[in-house]
């Protein structure tokens, strides 16, 4: 449990120190990718709680989910379909569901 938290802190420090900033037109895509990543992490925590955790699934899911989400929103933008809100809603709902399951797991323990 210590290593992931350490990783998170290191990532936050790298991110805040690096001069990278997303251009405004891509900020939307990036935020969706971020939400997908968050969703995957919570999914991983939940799988871990249910003792079904698989590293390969987790890692591949993390990257493909984020990229696919951004790609879908990008395509939606091009086609004039606002998939941004759909992605937000879907990922947001999943995150809260996973959170609830994780909480129950902790309560049961």
């Amino acid at each position: 449990m210590l290593l992931p938290i350490l990783g998170l802190v290191v990532g936050l420090i790298i991110g805040s120190l690096s001069p990278i900033s997303i251009p405004q037109e891509y900020a939307k895509l990036f935020s969706v990718a971020l939400l997908a990543a968050l969703d995957t992490v919570f999914g991983g925590l939940r799988a871990n709680a249910e003792e079904k955790f698989d590293t390969t699934v987790f890692i591949t899911g993390f990257f493909t989910n984020a990229l696919l989400a951004a790609l879908l929103v990008y395509i939606g933008d091009r086609l004039g379909i606002d998939l941004y809100y759909v992605a937000m809603l879907a990922f947001g709902l999943r995150i809260f569901q996973n959170l609830a399951i994780i909480r129950r797991y902790f309560l049961k323990k």
Binding site: L8, I13, I14, S16, I22, Q24, A27, L45
Partner: protein
Amino acid sequence: MLPIKQGQAAIALVCIVLGFMLAVQFRTTQDIKSTVPFQRIEDISQRLAQTEKERDSLLEEVQSLRKSSNKEVLSKEIENVKMGAGVTPLKGPGIVVTIDDSKRQSKTGENPNLYLIHDDDILKVINELWAASAEAVSINEQRLIASSEIRCAGPTLSVNNTRYSPPYEITAIGDPKNLENALKMRGGVVETLQFWGIQVSIKKLDEVNVPGYKGTFRFEYAHPVKEGE
């Protein structure tokens, strides 16, 4: 805690990426918030640049036209008249008066207008300067000529049909000592303004620049009277 046994390193890696994304997103959001009307700023600045270019080219045209029409009669008299009319930029010793709104908060029940600069305040200062034999006066780059108006336009001041907001900078050419004394005399205009907390600062300078009047003269109703009529 959670019994994570396998692939802790992999999860840590994912967490690094996640943390990185979080931080970048945080900063991006911050950036966007601080520069929301980005498009608009660009739009307006472009328009400003364009208008400025237009103005400059028109000014050049006016100047060249004036020059060509006056080439034969460049006598001292004409120069004097032009200086008096305020079309030529002038320089010389003088003072710069900077006037800004009061920083004081108005008390409840008091009229906040008392703490703001009004056209009549500026007019009083200008009048005092003329009385102290200022030879040329300008407000924020606008040369005061015979037909210059000074009046409140909402929260701004309109001079030569150009609007300015505080602080106002009044530049006057004349004997710096005389001009300063005229403003600073006991019970004078500066004392009155400062009573309301309006910030007045007077700088005596060996050389100040007063720009020329940039507009044109148009007489629709007035015609010169011919001698002997």
